[in-house]
Symmetry: C2
Subunit: 416 residues, 2 copies
């Protein structure tokens, strides 16, 4: 009997609005290319180590299910934040993973995630080559933060940027409607620890009928409280209503996060990332005290990464494309690679899937280039906008059932 | 020469996603009923006192503009939080208003707002009758909080409830995708100082593929920190992932707001309303400390009242209907009245516009009845859901331009 050609796919790291579109792309392409079974790891490699997986044919029954999956936020299979040890630190763990893959007759292993997930692909691909295992390991990029190197942008960024820009427009309308002959300051807080791509996306709210935010502060630029205060004071005098967008990760010259000034931010996650909170509310309080007017902080929070109801069609389609491209690459014999998005043109916007060696990618954070921020360090340039604008184009309306977006969720009783 | 039949309309109080749909209803019906000019007060009565108004025919040029207005959040004309003094306290101010109305040959005065705005209608209508002025004064209800008496519900509530329920579904997916063999608690904070209608709307997230929040705490029910902790501890043991929805206005038995425990909440707005903040982040910190697991607070904040992109079609249509009904009532000679929504049936949902004496309405806050909350005081009942569900039905997609919802905004150079 010929060996079965099975494939397994997992999702890892912080969810996005389109991570399931990549899963849908993997599933559909695997089916089209004649893979026998498509398994899904439940909660990524961490779940796989506990032999938690699912045969996806028990979950996805139709093209409509695939469409519904594309409209479902967060990780359908469950995610994890689990970093593989170095091979020499724990070879038994690697052996265990490969025993499970062999048992399931896996030929290709696809992992959808960010920097830490690409590190997983690199280690597993290296281990396979060292030990003579034949499985192929492919990474599919995903992160709202857009901080992966070598790919023009990451799936998930466009939809988060669209949600942020649309919400910024709505909040600016709200602020303008309220302020009459009175100073009014709104501080928006956007996700992005070290990379300001999402904070910069608030500039997309600048359209023919909306001025957009007045000031934008990215984590790439050292934040100066005095200059900030001076700038806001000038604007408030001139126009009364001021809207400022700040990254959660803005830092002072001495290296402290601004939110640390409020006393917050003193615990750390499994990857050693500092947990941040409260930058907007801290700055709103600070401005209120100094300027003596009404201020408010608005934290966009979790909705930035799970608002499928405002997904970008461009983003959904690209997420689907890179999922499929990973399967194709694995099927053609590639391993230790990540699929990337190559931009061919801004206008008309054209992108294609490419592929790069994952050793060149993992653990390099891509930040906003200095030249895409203005000299004063308080707004993004037209180059930034030309880059980001194509990525928020097009809608992908939810399937509405009883007035609410419907999602595809895991049927647990048919797990194995 | 016959006297011109002009009409003036204003918007007041906190904006909603559909307050402009009511404005659209006023404008369209005024045109259809042969009013000559339709003026808009800029920033309500406060702007009117400064003779700030606009001829709406300089702003709205087509049926498409009317449709765009219905899709524009916040107060198109600008809002205010301005409470008229009692008549005997400042008769000169009333004289001033009527001089302006006479100058503009106003026959009907329509005010779109909440409790405080209905108080304005009452006072102006009383003053007109006392002094023999012939203008008619009509109120159009508006508030996301749904706390106006006598109307089945208020325009604005349905869209806010829809946004909240949809976002709750998305955040629950996000939470489930992340938690694997680990406790994870999410606390959602919803607007509603004294009335829990919006917080209760999180229960609408309970659908065939989503369990909805686990616990819901309304401001109508005294909040007990110990009972709350016990309940969450039990749930976390059982199911690991717990989502709790709380109103910003939950209070302890001693009358303190929960958010006051965090040191916040010590200033008061022009109407004497306490400004609240930080309930979710306070409770998330509290649970994290007591239970020792990962917790997060998510404040839905301003987006609840301005997310037109998730507006309910039912709500938009009713908001438009009550705006038109106010014009019709004024045209037929009514004054000192507020248009209300009368529900004729839950399923199929049928509602019509009614009208009530504004003296019976103003300044009575309608709260969630005790029997629509369960005995334990930590969830709403099926009666609540049957009441709220019809109000979130149907979508009203934004007009998307360059990937973002387009809005109609005031053209300032043609103000007069």
């Amino acid at each position: 009997m010929a060996k079965k050609r099975n494939i397994i796919v997992g999702q890892s790291g912080g969810p996005t609005a389109v991570i399931n579109a990549s899963l849908a792309g993997v599933y559909k392409t695997a089916r089209e290319r004649g893979f026998h079974k498509v398994y899904g790891m439940l909660h990524g490699v961490q779940g796989l180590l506990d032999e938690q997986y699912v045969d996806l044919s028990t979950q996805i029954h139709s093209d409509m299910d695939i469409e519904l999956l594309k409209r479902t936020p967060s990780a359908f299979l469950g995610s994890c934040r689990y970093k593989l040890p170095e091979i020499h630190e724990n070879p038994e763990l690697y052996e265990k993973i490969f025993r499970i893959l062999d048992k399931l007759q896996i030929e290709a292993f696809i992992y959808i995630g960010g920097n830490d997930s690409m590190d997983t692909i690199k280690k597993l691909a290296d281990y396979a080559i060292i030990k003579g295992h034949t499985q192929k390991f492919l990474g599919v990029p995903k992160t709202i933060d857009n901080d992966l190197a070598l790919t023009d942008h990451t799936p998930g960024f466009g939809s988060a940027a669209k949600y942020i820009a649309a919400s910024t427009k709505e909040i600016i309308r709200d602020a303008l409607g309220l302020s009459y002959n009175k100073e009014n300051i709104t501080v928006l807080e956007i996700m992005g620890r070290n990379a300001g791509w999402l904070t910069g996306a608030t500039a997309l709210a600048k359209t023919e009928e909306c001025d957009g935010p007045d000031l934008i502060y990215l984590p790439e630029i050292t934040f100066d409280m005095d200059k900030f205060l001076g700038k806001v004071e000038d604007l408030v005098k001139k126009q009364k209503n001021v809207v400022v967008a700040v990254s959660e990760g803005i830092k002072l010259a001495d290296g402290r996060y601004v939110c640390e000034l409020s006393g917050g931010g003193d615990y750390v996650d499994a990857f050693g990332h500092k947990q941040l909170q409260g930058t907007a509310s801290y700055l709103a309080g600070f401005l209120g005290q100094k300027i003596g007017c009404k201020t408010r902080g608005v934290e966009f929070s979790t909705l930035q990464r799970c608002a499928s109801h405002m997904a970008s069609r461009t983003d959904i389609q690209e997420a689907f494309m890179v999922g499929g491209a990973a399967v194709k690459a694995a099927d053609e014999g590639d391993t230790g690679m990540m699929v990337v998005i190559d931009r061919k043109s801004d206008d008309p916007y054209i992108s294609v899937a490419g592929i790069y060696d994952v050793h060149r990618i993992a653990n390099n954070e891509k930040v906003v280039p200095r030249e895409w921020v203005n000299r004063e360090g308080n707004y993004v340039t037209d180059e930034f906008i030309a880059y980001a604008k194509p990525l928020i184009q097009g809608s992908y309306h939810p399937y509405m059932v009883n007035g609410l977006p419907q999602h595809l969720v895991l049927k647990k009783n048919v797990r194995k």
